[in-house]
Amino acid sequence: EVQLVQSGAEVKKPGESLKISCKGSGYTFANYWIAWVRQMPGKGLEWVGIIYPGDSDRRYGPSVQGQVTISVDKSISTAYLQWSSLQASDTAMYYCARHRTVGTTPAGVDVWGQGTTVIVSS
């Protein structure tokens, strides 16, 4: 069974750093794009970015450019979303998601992780 299992909920203070994870299983991790999607409280899904584990090609959505870093460790089939200095506005649910991959094109999500809640509060 293809699965994405995300790390647990986090409560942090503004200015702190954070790295959340998403571990894939049941498939060849390197061959599928992994995306991160944000959902702020009461709001819609928002594109954060995407990474191709095979060559670490990564892209970011316009609303988070420069604010987060997406990375991957192929050896343990895990993708990461990282902040160097959290802000209260980063409070949200963060989902990782596997994309169907046609050639090297991300063709749409087919598997979602369970989500990681991040709360940033002083």
Binding site: G44, L45, W47, I50, P106, A107, G108, D110, Q114
Partner: protein, 111 residues
């Protein structure tokens, strides 16, 4: 780069059909058949209900169907049921640097 445009809300009565539109550009919906639709119930992770414009994953009801015309994709739900009440999102591959673009979501209310 802008997101895809969806109506904020739609509603229908049980048994009726509704259609949710998702409008993009030639760089995304109009240029490729990589449009997906997701259903999200409150407090739950999203679920894929349509991929590649019109294909349903195994286990998704045939009451859900997708189509595309030009730069606009559509999701139709027939025989509305109370259980269909949820938020619905579209997404597409795009030639812009981000590679993927999302719609803002549509809240479906079953009256």
């Amino acid at each position: 780069q802008s997101g895809l445009t969806q109506p904020a809300s739609v509603s229908g009565s049980p048994g009726q059909s509704i259609t949710i539109s998702c409008t993009g550009t030639n760089s995304d919906i109009g240029g490729f058949n990589y449009v997906s639709w997701y259903q999200q119930r409150p407090g739950k992770a999203p679920k894929v209900i349509i991929y590649d414009v019109s294909f349903r994953p195994s286990g998704v009801s045939s009451r859900f169907s997708g189509s595309k015309s030009g730069n606009t994709a559509s999701l139709t739900i027939s025989g509305l049921q109370a259980d269909d009440e949820a938020d619905y999102y579209c997404s597409s591959y795009t030639t812009s640097d981000s590679l993927v673009v999302f719609g803002g979501g549509t809240k479906l209310t079953v009256l």
